[in-house]
Amino acid sequence: MRSPIRFEKRLTQPAWLSWGIPLLSLLIALVIGGIVLQITGKDALDVYDRIFERGFASKRAIQGSLITATPLAFTGLCAAVAFRMGVINIGGEGQLYVGAIGASMVGIAMDGQPVGFVVVCMLVMGMLFGAAYGSIVGVLRARFNTNEIITSLMLNYIAGILLNYLIFNSRSYWRDPRTQGFPSGKPIGDRGEWTKFSIFGVSVPLGFLIAILAGGAVWLLYKRTRFGFEVGVIADSPRAAAYAGIRTRWTIVAVMALSGALAGLGGASDVGDFRHLLDAKGLQLSNYGYTGIVVAALARLNPLATIFVAVLIGGLTNAGYALQGPDFPSGLVGTLQGLILFSSVAGEVLLRYRIRQNRTPRREAVAS
C-alpha cells in the first residue's frame, strides 16, 4: 500500500510559515490533549477554559503567570542561544541552579549594602556562575569533542547534588542555621529582594524586564554582529567556518558561556525576585531548564519569540498549579508541554517540506 500523501522539499520558505507553523503546532497539541481529556472523562473545553481564566484572564492571573514565565524566559534563551549554533545544551537546568547559588551567596553576604548595588552584584554573580558552569560543557566539546548533550545532562545531576549538599547535607554558608526542623536556605537581606514594577496595574518582576532586555540583546547579537555571523556560519558548516578563519573552538566556548550566563540570570532572578533564599527542593521540582527547551523549540529559537512563548507556557504552568485538584489531573500540564514540544519539533518538517497529495492513478501493468 502506498501513502496518500508525499513530502516535497521546499526550495523557499514563505515568511508566514515561521509563525504559522508554531501556532499550528500549539493548536495540534491542544487538540490531542483535548482528546486525552475527553477519553479520561473530563470536559476538555471546560478544562481549557479554566486554564485560560487562571493563566491569563485577570491581573492576578497574569501576575502569577509572569512569575513562572520569568525563569522560563531565561532558560528558553539559554537553549535558543546554544541550539542556534547546533550545540545542544540540555544543561540549562544545572546552569540555573549554579546561577542561583552564586546570586544567593552575594545576596546573603551583602546584607545592608545599597539596594541597587546588591541587585547588580547578584545579577553579575548569577551570570558568572552560570557562564562558568556552561563553559565546562563548551571547553569539553571544543577541546575533546565530547558530546555536549551527555555532558550538559550529567552536569545537571551534579548541580542538583550540589544543591542538596549545600542545604541538606552540610552546614554550608547557604543553609539557614536557625531552622530547627526541615533545613532551608538562609534568606538574603531585605535589600537583596528585587523591586517589582507596576505596569498597567500588573506588578512585573524585575527579572522579567531583564529577560526582555536579554532577549533583545541576543537578537541583536545574532542578527547584527560579527559574533552572530560567525555563529551562523559554524552552524551551517564547521568546515566553511575553519576555512574563513573563524575561531570555531573559541566561539563554542563563548556561546556555551553565554548560554550558561542566561540560565544563571534565571537562577539569580529566582533568588532575588521570588524565593529570596537558595531553595534546593523548589528549584529541582520546577524543571525550569527542561521546560526552557520546550519554550525555545516552540519559539523556533528566535530570542524575541522566546520571551513571548515563555509567557504562554508560564501561564499554562501557573494555571496548572492553581487548578490542581480532584477534577483537574495534575499530570495534564506536563502532558501538554510534552505534546507541545513533540508537535513543534514535528512542525519543523513542515517548514522544510510541503505535503502534496498523491492522486494520480497508477499505470495498470508494466508492458513487457
Binding site: 547584527r224 578563519g245 499505470r363
Partner: protein
C-alpha cells in the same frame, strides 16, 4: 508488446521559484540504445531525469513509457514502470552488506528475506553484466567503483529496463570507466536502454549511440554519434564554438620574484598519518605553478596547509617573506592567500547562507563591512550586488541561499569573493571540476587574467590538460613528496604520467 520508443518526453516544463529548469524539453529513448544527455551545469539534465524517475512532477508536458502515457507521483511508480536511476551520490547504507543494500526498500518485499535466493540472484546478475562485486561484503569496505556497481545491481535486481546514470564516470578511474562502458554495452545488447548524463564530450562520443543536447532548459537537438564531432557537440552545448588550446599570457611570469615560499613542510592527514614530507616549493609573481598527481597523494593537505586550515608539523610557509602562522586560516587570509577549495559548497561556502553573506565570508571583519564588531548590512549587500554584477553570477537575489544556485554559479560566487580580495597568492584546487564547458572557460580566463596582473597561482588539479594549458611550471606529487619540478617546455604528458605513477625520473630536478 513492442514499441518504437522506450521513453518519450514531450514539451516537459518544470519551474522552480526564480528559474525555469525545463522549458519545453523533448526527449526520446529507443529500446536498446545508449542515449547521452549532454549539457552544461544548470542546463536541466538533472531536473529532467528527476521527472523521469518520479521525484518531481512536471508542470506541463507529456510522458510516455512504451507508447503509453503515464504520470508518476513517486520514485516507486517509476521503478514499477521499469525506470531506475544511479545517482551521482550513492544511496547505500555503509554498514550493510551488498545483498542487504540491494533488497533494502524493495517494492513488495516481505518481512522475511530469503537470503540465499537474494545472493544467488545478485551473483547471477553480476556475472551476466560483468559487475564483479561480493554480495556478502559490507559496503563501507568497497571502493567507490564497486559501490557504483552495487547501485547498478540494485536497480537491475528490481527489474529496471531503463537505467539512468548521472555522471557515472565522475568518481571512476579510467580503467573502471572502461569496465563500466563494457557493462553498459552488454545491457543494451539485451534490449535494455540507458540514459547517460554527462558533460564530458569525449566520453559521450565513446559510449553513446545518440546524443540529446540541452541548453538553458531547452532541447538544442538530438544527433547520431556517428554523424557528429566533439567540436560540434561543444558548440551545441554552449551555443558558440570553444577551443581548447594553451592559453596565451599577456604578461610573462617572474619566477624569481617569489610571492609564496613553502620550505621543507611536513604535515599529517586527518587520520594522523604523514601526508606531506619535506615539501618545498615557490611561486613567483604572476606565475601559475601546476601541481599534478593522482588524487590522494597529498594535494588536499598541501592546499590546506598553505591556506592555514591544517597545522604543519615541521617547516615554514611565507608570503613575500612574511611567515604564516601554522594552522591559522585567519593569518593566511590576512597575508593575502586566496583559496578555492575542492569542496566548494561545504568548505568554500556556507551553503545555507545567502549569496551576500558568502561574499562577505572572508572580509566581514574588515572596517568596510563592520564597525565596532557590528556588521554593516548595507555595505555587505552593496558589495554582493557589485560582485554579482561583475562576475555575472546568475541568482534571483543576493539573499538567495547559495545551495540553490547551479554548480557554475556556485563557483562564480567563490571566484568573485576570492579575486576581489586582491590576493597575492591563490591556491586553486580542481577549480573547474564538475563545471560545464562555458564555466570552465570563464574560470580559466579569470585565473590567467589574475596571473597577468601579478597574482601567484598554485593550481592543484588532476586534470592534466588543465595543468598543461595553464601552467608556467609543473610540479608532480607522489606519496606526499614533490618528485619533479618541470618548466612547461619540458613537461610532456607521458613524462608527467610516469612521474605521477611513481616511476623515478632522472632528468627532473627534485625541488
Amino acid at each position: 508488446m513492442t514499441s518504437k520508443t522506450a521513453v518519450k518526453m514531450t514539451g516537459i516544463v518544470k519551474r522552480f521559484p526564480g528559474v525555469i529548469a525545463n522549458d519545453g524539453v523533448d526527449f526520446e529513448l529507443r529500446p536498446g540504445e545508449v542515449h547521452a544527455l549532454l549539457g552544461e551545469n544548470g542546463a536541466g539534465k538533472s531536473t529532467l531525469s528527476n521527472i523521469l524517475t518520479g521525484l518531481y512532477r512536471p508542470d506541463a508536458g507529456r510522458l510516455d513509457i512504451d507508447g503509453e502515457p503515464v504520470s508518476f507521483s513517486s520514485p516507486r511508480d517509476a521503478l514499477e514502470a521499469g525506470i531506475g536511476m544511479v545517482h551521482q551520490h550513492f544511496r547505500l547504507v555503509p554498514t550493510f552488506t551488498v545483498a542487504e543494500n540491494i533488497v533494502l526498500g524493495e517494492a513488495g518485499a516481505s518481512v522475511f528475506v530469503n537470503r540465499d535466493r537474494v545472493i544467488a540472484r545478485v551473483q547471477e546478475l553480476s556475472e551476466r553484466y560483468h559487475l564483479a562485486v561480493d554480495p556478502m561484503a559490507k559496503v563501507w569496505q568497497l571502493s567507490v567503483g564497486e559501490q557504483q556497481r552495487v547501485e547498478i545491481l540494485k536497480i537491475l535486481y528490481r527489474g529496471a529496463r531503463v537505467l539512468i546514470l548521472d555522471e557515472p564516470t565522475a568518481v571512476l578511474t579510467p580503467i573502471e570507466a572502461d569496465a563500466l562502458f563494457m557493462t553498459l554495452r552488454s545491457m543494451v545488447a539485451e534490449g535494455r536502454s540507458i540514459i547517460f548524463i554527462s558533460h564530458k564530450l569525449d566520453e559521450v562520443m565513446a559510449v553513446a549511440d545518440r546524443i540529446t543536447v540541452l541548453r538553458g532548459g531547452k532541447t538544442v537537438g538530438c544527433v547520431d554519434t556517428a554523424s557528429t564531432s566533439t567540436k560540434d557537440l561543444a558548440s551545441m552545448m554552449v551555443g558558440r564554438s570553444v577551443e581548447f588550446t594553451r592559453v596565451t599570457r599577456q604578461q610573462p611570469a617572474t619566477p624569481d620574484d617569489i610571492v609564496l615560499q613553502v620550505s621543507v613542510v611536513s604535515a599529517l592527514d586527518d587520520r594522523g598519518r604523514l601526508a606531506l614530507t619535506d615539501v618545498s616549493l615557490s611561486v613567483g609573481r604572476g606565475e601559475i605553478v601546476g601541481v599534478a598527481g593522482v588524487a590522494g597523494n597529498g594535494q588536499r593537505e598541501l592546499a590546506e596547509v598553505i591556506a592555514g586550515m591544517r597545522s604543519i608539523s615541521s617547516g615554514s610557509i611565507a608570503v613575500e617573506g612574511q611567515p604564516i602562522k601554522s594552522g591559522r586560516a585567519r593569518s593566511a587570509i590576512e597575508q593575502g592567500i586566496a583559496h578555492i577549495p575542492e569542496d566548494r559548497l561545504h568548505t568554500g561556502l556556507a551553503a545555507s547562507h545567502s549569496v551576500e553573506d558568502n561574499m562577505a565570508l572572508k572580509n566581514y571583519r574588515t572596517s568596510a563591512l563592520s564597525r565596532f564588531r557590528i556588521l554593516r548590512r548595507k555595505a555587505i549587500r552593496h558589495q554582493a550586488a557589485d560582485l554579482v554584477e561583475r562576475y555575472d553570477v546568475k541568482t534571483p537575489d543576493t539573499r538567495t541561499p547559495v545551495r540553490l544556485l547551479s554548480g557554475g554559479n556556485v563557483q562564480k560566487v567563490l571566484l568573485a569573493r576570492e579575486f576581489s580580495s586582491l590576493p597575492r597568492v591563490l591556491i586553486a584546487a580542481s577549480p573547474t571540476r564538475g563545471l560545464d564547458v562555458g564555466a570552465i572557460e570563464t574560470v580559466r580566463s579569470r585565473l590567467v587574467e589574475a596571473a597577468d596582473r601579478g597574482l601567484g597561482v598554485l593550481l592543484i588539479s588532476e586534470d592534466l590538460d588543465e595543468i598543461l594549458s595553464l601552467s608556467d611550471r609543473v610540479l608532480v606529487v607522489y606519496e606526499g613528496r614533490l618528485v619533479a619540478n618541470l618548466p612547461i617546455e619540458t613537461a610532456d604528458r607521458s613524462r608527467i604520467g610516469l612521474l605521477m605513477g611513481g616511476s623515478v625520473d632522472g632528468v627532473g630536478a627534485r625541488s
